[in-house]
């Protein structure tokens, strides 16, 4: 059985041009699925949003220093990362408006190159239209408890 620690991290690949909130205000863009995911929804009925389960204090550094796949030696998460509370995710899962629409999982067995890896799962039906998509991503952002600046 996978172990779920109290917190998890979601890396932000792109630096938003945020205005008015220099503290890295968690906008709905933090959890946005890729264009490819939106165009080709997973047959399971859910779209996965990659996360790292924060098993220990090393996971933050591990996440922030994940290298870009471009091979240029830069870090992938140029926008930093956000820490989410599992308790708050549970509240969302039990929220009458979102029950069955949001879930999470952990890779079991773990990935060889990232033992912390897991996913948030968002129901495809809530990602079909732009307004519905913004709402579910906005609701999810309430699980964020801290923004961590990039390295």
């Amino acid at each position: 059985m996978p172990v779920f620690p109290e917190t998890l991290l979601r890396g932000i690949p792109k630096k938003d041009k945020a205005y008015f909130d220099n503290e890295g205000n968690p906008t709905v863009t933090v959890f946005r699925p890729s264009e490819d995911q939106l165009k080709n929804p997973d047959l399971s009925g859910f779209t996965d949003i990659s996360i790292n389960w924060e098993d220990n204090s090393e996971v933050e550094k591990f996440t922030l220093e994940t290298l870009s796949s471009s091979g240029d030696g830069t870090f992938h998460f140029k926008g930093g990362t956000v820490r989410l509370s599992l308790d708050k995710l549970e509240i969302i899962k039990n929220d009458v408006n979102w029950a069955g629409k949001i879930d999470y999982r952990r890779d079991d067995p773990p990935l060889t190159d990232n033992i912390y890896h897991g996913d948030l799962l968002l129901a495809n039906e809530n990602l079909k239209t732009s307004d519905n998509r913004k709402a579910i991503l906005g609701r999810l952002s309430f699980a964020i408890i801290k923004y961590i600046h990039p390295h």
Partner: protein
């Protein structure tokens, strides 16, 4: 003294007519009818002192029930801070947004500004304007327990609005396409449920 309304979730939250507006709130227990509001957030704020007059149940915009406190405002050291930030946002958007997004967004912001400038906002929300990609502009008001957003897409038919909460309160949750809600309807909703 001006009569004002604020929307709050639960009557049970009141103890001796006091209510914590935010985690940083302090309440004045010397006078049971008086509350001191010290709002949270990232903007400079002023303390407001108000008298609670009554609590009554109301139907909410999207269904369900909410509660309104009617109170008399004793003192507000500075008013219209919300509108000052809104004005800065408009200025920023005029300078930075692609023309197609600017054309869509400004009528909504101007309408919201007109609707809200008569209020001395008791809770100045965290306010963000961002450009998730070249074709999209996102404007969000991040309140302590809920957020209101406008997402403008270059494809105007895709532009949308949303209100979501953190599940600890029973305020409205909703979303829709902006093509189905004109600026006046939307700002009316904001001024009645979000900002006031």
């Amino acid at each position: 003294m001006n009569s004002r309304f604020i929307t709050l979730p639960y009557p049970a939250a009141f103890v001796n007519n006091t209510y914590d507006i935010s985690s940083n709130s302090s309440t004045n227990t010397e006078d049971e009818d008086e509350i001191t509001i010290l709002p949270s957030g990232t903007f400079p704020r002023k303390i407001q002192k108000v008298f609670v007059e009554s609590v009554r149940e109301i139907p909410m915009f999207f269904g369900g029930q909410g509660y309104i406190i009617e109170y008399k405002q004793l003192a507000v050291e500075e008013t219209n801070i919300f509108n000052k930030f809104l004005a800065k946002a408009v200025e920023y958007i005029k300078e930075n947004a692609p023309a197609a997004l600017k054309r869509q967004a400004l009528p909504y912001l101007q309408e919201i500004n007109e609707r809200t400038n008569k209020f001395a906002s008791r809770d100045f929300p965290r306010f963000t304007v961002s450009f998730p990609d070249e074709n999209e502009m996102l404007i969000e008001w991040n309140f302590e327990h809920y957020k209101f957003g406008l997402a403008f897409d270059e494809e105007a038919n895709e532009s949308s609005w949303y209100v979501v909460n953190d599940g600890t309160i029973q305020t409205s949750t909703g979303w829709g396409l902006l093509k189905n809600k004109n600026p006046s309807q939307l700002s009316s909703f904001i001024s009645s449920e979000v900002v006031t």
